[in-house]
Amino acid sequence: MTAQAAIDVPVIPPLDPALFVDVDLYSQEIKADPSPWFLQWADKPPFYVMIHGRPNAVICRHEQVKWALSDHETISAIPQPGWGADYLDYFNGLPVLLEVDPPEHTRLRRLMQPAFTPRRVSQFQLGINQQVAALIETLAAKNEFDMMTEFAQPLVYRLLLGTVFEFPEKDWSIFTNLSHALELVATVPLGAPKPAAYMEAFNAGMKYCGDLIELRRREPKDDLISSIVAQHDEGGIITTEELFTTLIQLFAGGLGTVSGTLGLSMLRLCRHPDQLKLLQDDPSLLNSALEECLRIDSLGNFRHRHVARDCVVDGVPIYRGMLVHMSMGAANYDPDFYPEPNKFDIKRNPRDISTFGHGLHFCIGNAFARAVLRAGIGQLVQRFPNIRLADPSEKIIYGGMPTERMPLNIKLRVD
């Protein structure tokens, strides 16, 4: 978005230098293993960091993260130009669910909620199980494979684009290109135009959605797209931009997160062979094991919001115009909720984890994500009793959004 004459960038009052921490929240070190930081922060009041020349507050305690994620009048989801989050404008200014407050949020969320309720997800379960089983059979022929590029990513593409959206395979690249392009956003300098590859992918997606609306109006089907179109049309005719916005946020919200979490969970289990063995010997531990994987390895280290009015959190002043990073990852290490937080214990069955957020913006796809994790991890560990890291000393590289821990290379052996 272009800055307008009337933009309002509040001047932040002087902040206590003692409350600043000199740390790069987006560093490869934090992505690779955030636990030393989380252990330090999870029982402490908020602190400040400088990002792109502006002070940000970082909130880490379980209760405080939950508060910050749910008090939208104080901590708003609506981005304000010049407040320091322009580099996180993944969606080119589209009115996505994640970036609106009530009442607009309530309206938009209602349009999407029906697609991912527990009951709806249960209807996908058979398809999910079959896709996982089919993919595993192709891998069984090999002794070694990459968890990310040969299992998690193709699986989640297939599930979202095929099983959920029911798009023909020939059209999938429109969305896969777009999802790669989203990562380019954070790489351009502040104020610079979006990268050309991003705009190209964006426009291709927009065009596809326009055509899709036409097609479904001509030939209605009993599928998710038709139901989204119908939900919108009740309150006025759906625009191309609205359908595109809905699909891109479901897709972008689901693709990397689910495949990344599959990777992190498998990696965690392989690095703790005793816990892996426990799960293999007692498959009834699967749900508890996955909750523990989700707790200890939250794909998102942080989510950000915009401070709409001054507040004080645990003695730390946070001013209007600042950005807040709420650490879901650290909240999952709060020792008041999770004793010995650094211990990976698949019998812990942790409750109230923050991995999927909290409150108004609580992840719409969480039941779907859990269903995919159950099928993916459950089947891998049972089908391959000897599943292990091909080379435990191999360095895992992390990509994804700056705030995410997306593992890119996890080589497994299964012979």
């Binding site: 209602r110 909620q113 029906p114 527990p118 009951r119 749900n287 409750r351 269903a371």
Partner: protein, 109 residues
């Protein structure tokens, strides 16, 4: 202090003293009562705090609002006449003794 009586799916019962203004999901979570997940934290956004309110109490509650009604229709356990989302049931002195049964599931697996 209004009491909430939870009937668990294993047949056991837990009675908890709550404060007026608390909701049935939050009280269950803070007392480690099994079978209520409350994943979204009480924002009518997940449908994993489903309970069956006993008929004598169900009639005294305000009707479910739009979002609660929509989630109940899609819940993992069957919707019954007393079905409510626990996070939307606020206890008051008048509801002292409210009895809720926890369904056998909140999610599919």
């Amino acid at each position: 202090m209004p009491k909430i009586i939870y009937e668990l799916s294993d047949g056991s019962t837990r009675t908890i003293e709550a404060n007026a203004g608390d909701n049935v999901m939050q009280v269950a979570m803070s007392h480690d009562i099994a079978g209520i997940l409350g994943r979204c934290g009480g924002f009518c956004n997940c449908g994993t705090c489903h309970v069956y309110v006993d008929a004598q109490w169900a009639d005294q509650l305000p009707e479910p609002a739009f979002d609660e009604d929509a989630l109940l229709s899609e819940s993992a356990a069957e919707r019954q006449p007393g079905s409510r989302l626990g996070c939307q049931v606020i206890v008051t002195e008048a509801l002292d003794g409210i009895t809720v049964t926890i369904p056998e599931r909140q999610e599919f697996d």
